[in-house]
């Protein structure tokens, strides 16, 4: 298998990549970097300018893998490469969350962890993981449950909250193209999450991670709002549950840092033999 990092993981959140390699090694699945791969390119923002540009860059990335399976951990990268592969009939593209759920399976994940993480978590799927249904046939487009079950598999609770299926406000080029709008949407989402007193927000996309994490800092500066809710990618939690040092997940580099969460991650809850 080849890991496709995309810009966000390669250039901003390398801890996600480190965590993914740890998890795959633990599961006995061989994976190595897809050398020379570029921006996927980001689906909505690129299609907004040129559908053909999107297709040609996507194709180049897929061809680099020479028919080996391409693993992604970003909803944008997954969407672009998955759609291009379906349109051109080439390549095998996966998102790590659906791969863990369908190919590895919840039971094996439960058996693979060395400590449970008894956390209260607000799950955010990210729109492009489960829509559009024209391509994402592996899940419901209204009530996906892949991530809820993955979170339970490591001993955490998926806390229900209002607007759970709403966008983070980061997609479609809105974060860069209409920052105010992006912040308005993020505010609605965070307000709802803050009602539930969770330990963290869990995402499966570095763009959502960036929007929730750096977005909170931006809301603090522009609107004087302090939510202070840490944000993590699911693969970072899974790596810790499998025994990786929390520092290697890079969460200490996220904008919202929480010693409380890091302590809980270090401690965990032992799994009896």
């Amino acid at each position: 298998m080849k890991f496709f990092p995309g810009c966000m993981i390669h250039n901003r959140y390398p801890g996600i990549e480190k965590s993914l390699y740890f998890v795959f090694e633990n599961l006995g699945i061989e994976i190595s970097p897809l050398n020379g791969s570029s921006c996927c390119p980001a689906p909505s923002i690129t299609k907004s300018v040129s559908h053909d540009m999107w297709l040609e860059i996507g194709k180049r990335n897929i061809e680099l893998a020479e028919n080996d399976t391409i693993m992604t951990a970003c909803n944008g990268c997954f969407t672009s490469l998955f759609e291009v592969s379906k349109k051109t009939g080439t390549g095998d593209v996966r998102h790590v969350a659906e791969f863990l759920y369908f190919d590895v399976g919840i039971e094996k994940i439960k058996r693979s962890i060395t400590k449970r993480l008894p956390l209260r978590l607000a799950i955010h799927y990210g729109c492009h993981f489960f829509r559009p249904g024209e391509y994402k046939k592996f899940t419901s487009q209204e009530r996906p449950r892949v991530l809820d079950e993955l979170v339970r598999a490591i001993g955490s609770e998926s806390v229900d909250y209002r607007y759970k299926m709403m966008c983070c406000g980061g997609g479609g080029g809105v974060r860069a193209g209409a920052t105010e709008v992006s912040q308005d949407l993020l505010e609605i989402k965070l307000e709802a999450i803050s009602q539930e007193e969770v330990d963290a927000i869990v995402v499966i996309c570095p763009l959502c991670l960036n929007q929730f994490d750096n977005g909170q800092k931006e809301l603090e500066n522009s609107r004087n709002e302090n939510y202070n809710i840490p944000v993590v990618h699911y693969i970072q939690l899974l790596a810790v549950a499998m025994g990786m040092d929390p520092e290697l997940t890079g969460i200490q580099w996220h904008s919202i840092s929480s010693t409380d969460l890091i302590e809980k991650l270090i401690k965990g809850e032992m799994v009896e033999e």
Binding site: P5, H10, R12, K18, N35, S37, S38, K47, V49
Partner: protein, 149 residues
């Protein structure tokens, strides 16, 4: 606009499921139902609405449309025309100059590469591989010139 996509707009029966599902529509002037009505009743092109840039492309409207209109795909297509006529809004223009120059919408900086080194991870994005970077840059330039000059 792609004729086949435009034709699907005529299926709209003005039920409002699209705008009812739209989170961006709650906080902005983006009103998908009205845009579709303008097109059907008065022939106003979809691409004449600047609010199209407020769409986060969550695909909720497209997924729920009882007439199967690919609304989000149409919005993306209409943005091509908007970009051609008026250029890109906000920092989107910068984003494309990054893509053209670095083959990355989000280019890595020195401090990011330090993080990779600390985690003992290789550097292999095309941004850091001259031949690969050039390959991608050329694709971007080719199309970008066509659209925004």
């Amino acid at each position: 606009m792609n004729e086949e996509l435009a034709k699907t707009l005529n299926r709209c029966m003005q039920c409002g499921t699209c705008i009812g599902s739209c989170f961006s529509g709650r906080v902005t002037a983006l009103n998908t139902r009205k845009i579709l009505m303008g097109y059907i009743a008065k022939g106003i092109p979809v691409e004449s609405h600047d609010a199209l840039w407020f769409c986060v492309t969550c695909y909720a409207c497209q997924e729920r449309c009882p007439r199967g209109i690919p609304i989000t795909d149409i919005i993306l297509e209409a943005r091509n025309e908007l970009a051609r006529r008026k250029g890109l809004p906000g920092r989107l223009k910068n984003a494309f100059s990054y893509l053209e120059k670095h083959s990355a919408f989000v280019p890595g900086k020195e401090k990011n590469m330090k993080m990779r080194k600390e985690l003992d991870l290789p550097v292999y994005h095309s941004q850091f591989d001259e031949r690969a970077r050039k390959e991608v840059s050329e694709i971007v330039s080719k199309y970008l010139k066509e659209v925004i000059g």
